[in-house]
Amino acid sequence: MSEQPLIELRHVYRTFKQGRQLIPVLQDVNLTIAPNEIVCLVGESGCGKTTTGKIIAGLLPQSEGEVLFQGRPLESYRGKERAAMRRALQIVHQDPFASLNPAHTIGQILSFPLKHHKMVSGRAELRRRIWELLTLVDLTPPGDVVNKYPHQLSGGQRQRVSIARALTVQPKLIVADEAVSMVDMSIRVSLLQMLHDLRDKLNVAIIFITHDLALAKYFAWGERIAVMYLGRVVEIGPTEQVIGNSAHPYTRALISAVPEADPIRTRSKQRMKLRSEDIPKLTEIPSGCAFHPRCPFFVPGVCDARVPTLGAAEGYAQQVACPPLTEGLGLREYEAAAEAPVAG
């Protein structure tokens, strides 16, 4: 990519304190997002995708490593530049019921950032801008919602307001953290399509965080997907490749496990058998590749010996963190996997 990345994570670590224990939530995460790009972060609960999103949005400092915005570390921004940088990075949360302050009307919620950052001059322009924003997120006519309180709107409408609020400050990047998972499925798609349209119209990049592979595939078609497991990115690359020609055994396991809304196909799908169904606790992350105790392609002495880093693998266009693949050993089913699955 000749263009300078919008956001770059370099060896980012994040730990949380729980009692006296330190819990590593993110380990050595490297990620670049180009302007106007869509990247999906996919993974199960506890894989660190939300933490990554919060760090990118500037809501959480990293414990170690660097986060660069347009080539400079976030911490190096000062004064006006810092304010502009903060505004450029916005977040849309998962829960439409918690993301809007119940004490204010929709009009007020949108006017606070517009007024505070002097994005508009004068009342007429303020109201014009609110009208514009509400139309932009398909809340038409705006008069139906502008004077309402959040509790008077449906979940989908609220999520649109959240997006409009993020747009008030003309961001360059929006982190959408499970932004549609609590919305009814019949209207999810329209929200996703709206986000796509906004990306095209307003030239923003979107980081879309989800646990739903099919949704990620739909949203990031033609873009990139990163799969995370226990605080690390295990596979990243073009969506068509990651989904259609997955490299990492974990990604393969996920894809084989997902049921499909197609009775014949879903019943005839090949399921991958894991060696263990237990997800390790974050306090006891296995050595080497964190997936090795469950991985059916486990190679003793390789997978549990060294922590894999993302790299190219033969036959795959994406990057993958799997020693047998990156070191050219290839995947061979582990003998024990043929036996009965281990009880949970």
Partner: protein
């Protein structure tokens, strides 16, 4: 009885909630039959009445709910037919769990946090005269093995010591303790991770085939229904708008809402796809719209839909739909869905 293997037959069942603004029609004139060993999936979005319906089947409705009309007939293994809605309190208590058990969403707190898992099994066993604690224990450990849990450890654990997926499986085991004929599953795979969801689906299907009970499960996830169900019913605004065998429903939908849902679900297997969402939002159930409740959001709606309520009519022996424009829907479905 027309068919001998019907275990549960629901006719014309309605449930209203009393609210400040007036009665809310949560379930409206629903009828269906559940056969032995059949898995029936009730599909629908939040607020469509699916939870209310299954609560009514076990008479677990909250105190502000009323059942103005309807019948629920249950056939026991020895052929007796029970009217669930007319049962006395004592008989109802015996009916619950031993004939018809329910698996609640395990990620929420469906297990009493202050007592051990084993005590919940003992309680249930004692309440239904299962004999000694040892008998309960033996059965529980056997069930734990079936649902792929470490029997001894889980049996003596407190709920908070178990992960979400494990709790869900404990609930499944608890539901099967008394070998019921019907098991109701409430969103069994919602809010659990993908790989855990896979385990639960596999476990459920394996023990269903082994023990031979019938399942009614409610979910908003079409994919799970596609995988597990024999029969699928779509619910919209308190009504069953379409019901039929799983392949019929997924490949030959006759109702605009069923088709709409199918067109809104992304698939992993497909290449780049065109998805369409259903415009608008579900209607107010206190003052529902006249005619077909879906007509305001339906691309197939004609003038008649806003006047008359479409009756549930047979498409064929097993497939029924409540839509005036079913022909146009199926024609459209043939274009978009390739089986």
């Amino acid at each position: 009885m027309a068919q001998n293997d019907v275990v549960m037959s629901v006719r014309d069942l309605s449930v209203n909630y009393l609210t400040e603004r007036g009665p809310l029609q949560a379930v409206n004139r629903i009828s269906f039959e559940l056969h032995q060993g059949e898995t029936l999936a009730l599909m629908g979005e939040s607020g469509c009445g699916k939870s209310t319906l299954v609560m009514a089947l076990m008479r677990l409705l909250p105190s502000n709910a009323r059942v103005p009309n309807g019948e629920i007939h249950y056939t026991t293994r020895d052929g007796r037919v029970i009217d669930v809605l007319k049962m006395s309190k004592g008989k109802l208590r015996a009916f619950r769990w031993s004939e018809c058990a329910m698996v609640f969403q395990g990620a929420l707190n469906a297990l009493n946090p202050v007592i051990r898992v084993r005590d919940m099994f003992y309680d249930t066993g004692r309440a239904h005269g299962m004999g000694s604690k040892d008998a309960v224990r033996e059965r529980a450990l056997e069930l734990f093995r079936l649902v792929r849990l470490d029997p001894e450890r889980v049996f003596n654990a407190y709920p908070h010591e178990l992960s979400g997926g494990m709790r869900q499986r404990v609930l499944i085991a608890l539901g099967l303790l008394l070998d019921p004929q019907v098991v109701i599953l409430d969103e069994p795979t919602t809010a659990v991770d993908i790989l855990t969801q896979r385990t639960i689906i596999d476990v459920l299907m394996a023990i269903r085939d082994k023990l031979g009970f019938s399942i009614i499960f409610i979910s908003h996830d079409l994919a799970v229904a596609a995988e597990m169900a024999d029969t699928v019913a779509t619910m919209y605004a308190g009504e069953i708008v379409e019901i039929g065998p799983v392949n019929e429903m997924f490949y030959r939908p006759h109702h605009g809402y069923t088709l709409g849902l199918l067109e809104a679900i992304p698939s992993l297997a497909a290449e780049a796809e065109e998805l369409v969402s259903i415009p608008g939002s579900p209607p107010d159930l206190i003052e529902p719209p006249p005619g077909c409740k879906f007509h305001e959001r339906c691309p197939f709606a004609v003038e008649r839909c806003s006047r008359e309520v479409p009756p549930l009519v047979d498409v064929d022996e097993t497939h029924r739909v409540a839509c005036f424009e079913a022909d146009r829907v199926i024609a459209k479905a043939r274009e978009t869905i390739q089986a």
